[in-house]
């Protein structure tokens, strides 16, 4: 019986809560829309593409309906002939890129940490970096012949210059204050190199690696088109074009695009993992 007034007292002692606080919180719903935004562009592109074909603005022999091209892409990658060519191109690109990274990064870091050495080869690197690698294809043909090695070698060469250049600049432009901080703590030149310079160069190196993998893919595809290849996406694109098989050609082009995009995203993800301090 005595409990009743006590309960009433408790009721009264409850802190005042604003009615707004107890109302359900309306979550802004714009986020759902935001997620869909990246798909707007591709969808619009496919609609325009479809309309262009349907209205006959472009001859069907030059442009297949988008669904036909996408169907050929899906069929091809689901075990068709396209998959084999796709895998060959991936493998060549990976080989070329691997060679470029394994040689280019250490070389760039070494050159960058010795400014005199870098200045003495700077012109060569800049010159060949500015030379379109495809212009060197005949030269590489003479050296390596019409072989698989040739395609990998020329792509590796083009990618190597990019990696070397970026790694070297990463070391050269290392934050002076971090180097000073290490020096004032008594670090030797070697310790500054391995504890500061190499790390400082990682982020620009990754920028280099990302451009290098794109470059390697470009050169591999060009080489597959014009250096007597019998496999690879480049070869497939040019063959389909020769026989006016536009459906297959567009499927191969889309596959090449998807490959380039996927490599780029992959490198961004790896970079974010390894260079976790980047941009902070």
């Amino acid at each position: 019986m005595a409990a009743q007034p006590l309960a009433a007292a408790n009721e009264a002692a409850k802190p005042w809560v604003s009615p707004a606080a107890s109302a359900p919180i309306a979550v802004p719903r714009t986020t759902d829309w935001g997620r869909a935004l990246p798909f707007v562009g591709p969808v619009v592109l496919f609609i325009v593409w479809d309309l262009v074909v349907r209205l006959g603005l472009v001859k069907p022999i030059l442009l297949p309906p988008p669904l036909a091209a996408l169907g050929a892409l899906a069929n091809g990658l689901a075990g068709g002939a396209l998959l084999g060519d796709f895998a060959v191109t991936v493998w060549r690109t990976v080989q070329a890129f691997g060679i470029a990274a394994v040689i280019g990064m250490p070389l760039g870091v070494l050159l960058g940490s010795n400014e005199k050495a870098y200045r003495s080869v700077e012109f060569l690197i800049d010159f060949f970096r500015s030379t379109p690698s495809s212009a060197l294809i005949p030269l590489f043909l003479m050296i390596f012949g019409v072989s698989d090695i040739n395609k990998v070698a020329i792509a590796a060469f083009g990618a190597l210059l990019i990696v070397t250049f970026n790694s070297a600049y990463g070391v050269i432009n290392a934050r002076k204050q971090r180097v000073m901080a290490a020096r004032v703590m008594g670090a030797t030149r070697w310790q500054i190199f391995k504890d500061v310079l190499v790390w400082e160069s990682l982020q620009p190196s990754f920028v280099g690696l990302r451009s290098a993998v794109s470059m390697a893919l470009v050169i591999v595809i060009v080489a597959e088109m014009f250096i007597g290849a019998d496999s690879g996406l480049g070869n497939r694109i040019i063959n389909a074009q020769q026989v006016m098989n536009v459906k297959d050609m567009y499927a191969a082009i889309l596959a090449a695009g998807a490959l380039g995009y996927a490599l780029n995203v992959l490198f961004l993800l790896v970079e974010r993992r390894i260079v976790h301090w980047s941009g902070r």
């Binding site: 971090r178 901080a181 004032v184 008594g186 790390w199 990682l202």
Partner: protein, 273 residues
């Protein structure tokens, strides 16, 4: 005959003998000369920095306050002169340095704790020694944040606390601080100022502090070193002897106000000159 007629016109000037500073001097600077773009910044500059004291360096813009401590710390080469620590050269002296820009002083690829331990690793200390020293530092700084985080995950004040811990980790003879508070908000400035004072009371480490805030300079100092415009000379060295620990109450003591007023007078005299 011609040997005497065409004799060299310069006389043999004897080199100035080395003059040691007064008793209790830690850092002796003699004949320091530094040119910047052909103009003298320091010319024949002499200074004695006392041991177990905090010296605040204050002066007009561009007089080279930071350059002075950078030259003493060996970060900026000098053109001529001699800098000795208890008679030793820099090479044989352990120093600590706290930068204004903590963001570019810490190594973001290392966890904060490894950043702080880095100078100990450089000195080749064993794991046990490093751990013991780290525990000591954490206790004396009363660290409330997670040292296993990366520096960029900490607030500015926490990062600067960590970089002061890093500078103090090897138990340096001298600690240089280049405007350590200017990138911090007021709350963190107060906090780190108190920490520095505590560390100084505990260890008596000689400190040289560059500051652009006169109140802060006087508050922490045993001596305020006021510099002239370039070519830079010592304008005056003002002692400030209020006992430690100094608190916010110190800021309104007549002795503090007088010291600050005197410093300001000298500063203004030098700026107008």
């Amino acid at each position: 005959m011609s040997r005497f007629l065409n004799a060299p016109v310069f006389a043999d000037v004897p080199t100035r003998p080395f003059q040691p500073g007064p008793a209790g001097t830690h850092i002796t600077i003699r004949g320091l000369t530094k040119y910047f773009a052909g103009w003298p910044l320091y010319e024949n500059f002499d200074l004695d920095i006392p041991k177990h004291k905090i010296v605040s360096v204050f002066g007009p813009n561009g007089c080279g306050k930071s350059t002075l401590i950078n030259m003493i710390a060996g970060l900026v080469p000098i053109d001529a002169g001699e800098i000795l620590f208890d008679g030793k050269s820099l090479k044989d002296t352990k120093i600590g340095y706290v930068f204004q820009n903590y963001r570019e002083a810490m190594f973001p690829w290392m966890r904060t704790i490894d950043n702080i331990a880095y100078p100990l690793q450089l000195a080749g200390k064993s794991k046990a020694e490093v751990d013991r020293r780290m525990a000591e530092l954490v206790a004396s700084f009363d660290v409330k944040f997670d040292l296993n985080r990366y520096p960029y995950e900490l607030s500015g004040g926490q990062q600067q606390t960590a970089s002061i811990m890093r500078a103090l980790a090897p138990e340096p003879e001298v600690l240089f601080l280049d405007e350590p508070f200017s990138a911090l908000d007021f709350e963190m400035t107060l906090f780190i100022r108190e920490k520095l004072q505590e560390v100084f009371i505990q260890t008596g480490t000689t400190m040289v502090l560059v500051s652009h805030d006169l109140e802060e300079a006087v508050y922490l100092a045993d001596e305020v070193l006021l510099l002239t415009k370039r070519p830079t000379k010592v304008a005056e060295i003002l002692p400030y002897t209020d006992p430690r620990p100094r608190t916010t109450a110190t800021l309104s003591e007549p002795s503090f106000v007088a010291a600050k007023k005197r410093s300001l007078e000298v500063f203004q005299r030098e700026v107008r000159r």
